[in-house]
Amino acid sequence: MTLKRTTSITLIGLVALAAAGCGGNAKYIETGGNESMVNVGEVNIQDIQMAASGMLESMLKTGVLDRAEHKPARLLLNPIVNDTSSQFDVGELTYRMREQLVNSGQAQVITAYGKYTEDQAALEEMRRRSFESGETPNVQPDLTMSGKITQIKRQAGSTRQTTYTFRLTLTDPATGLEVWTKIEDVTKQGRKDSIGF
């Protein structure tokens, strides 16, 4: 065997090793990063992240929260309807948006309000204080949020395609009129699920 041939085989072996990497073992990856799984028939975490990001950008771009009566704007959230066959908590979407809006001081979410109460303890405490002081707390929302997540699934031969549509709307409860709405589509296509995008 000549030296050239040995060198060639060594190089090819190195390439094969580089291509094979260390796959297979469990590892931590960036949430929603390029190494994430892509499932054609399921909503992945990166789909939710993309939708939340697009919604937030639209809200900030239009300045709809700046036009509210209160600063920061007071938001009351309806439950978002998940009308897809993929099971996931829609809080994954809304909490990502809330994190940005509330922590940056652009909005406040009302978490103790009638049947939309998320924090039962806060509601009971508000009622107790209201009873003691005789004053009704002012927690009227400036805007209410509603929304729905839907899907369209199609197949051509062995190739599957799914479009997940995230839609959110803000309504002014003083008028009942829609003041902001946004649709974010995420479409995935493939014959089988994969890792990385």
């Binding site: 580089a18 291509a19 992240q49 993309m50 990001s53 937030l56 900030l60 300045g63 995008f197």
Partner: protein, 137 residues
């Protein structure tokens, strides 16, 4: 001669394999006036830069007051290219602003065509952004 050929082939294969996981970066700061602005690019994946390259960067204030950036990306190759991209906004101290708006997104651009990708700053003071692009095919 054979060794040179082998080395060239190996380098090409490594470039292709490595390229799909490597990002190129575009950085820019909004100027005094809205419109086109200068930008810096850091090319780590030469193949991506050949197929996908930033052609223009434009800034402008939105109705809400925050700045928006639009980047025109051109595909100089011969087939449709899919790529993922991530915008990060940077504050006046040079720190990346942590926000759930910064997430990897996907786009595709036809051969010979261009596409405009955009991002809105998470607050009304951010004027510098960093864009990472990574080809998917």
């Amino acid at each position: 001669m054979n060794l040179i050929k082998t080395l060239l082939a190996t380098t090409l294969v490594l470039a292709v394999l490595g390229g799909c996981g490597t990002v190129n970066t575009v950085t820019a700061t909004a100027g005094e006036n809205p419109g086109k602005t200068d930008y810096r690019t850091q090319v780590n994946d030469v193949l991506t830069d050949i197929f996908l390259s930033a052609k223009a960067v434009r800034f402008g204030p939105t109705t809400g007051g925050n700045y928006e950036v639009q980047v025109t990306v051109a595909n100089n190759g011969f087939k449709t290219r899919r790529f993922s991209y991530l915008f990060d906004w940077i504050d006046e101290n040079g720190m990346i602003i942590e926000t759930s708006m910064s997430t990897w997104k996907t786009a595709s651009v036809s051969a010979g065509g261009t596409i405009v990708i955009s991002s809105v700053a998470p607050n009304d003071t951010a004027r510098t952004f960093q864009l990472q692009t990574r080809r998917s095919n």
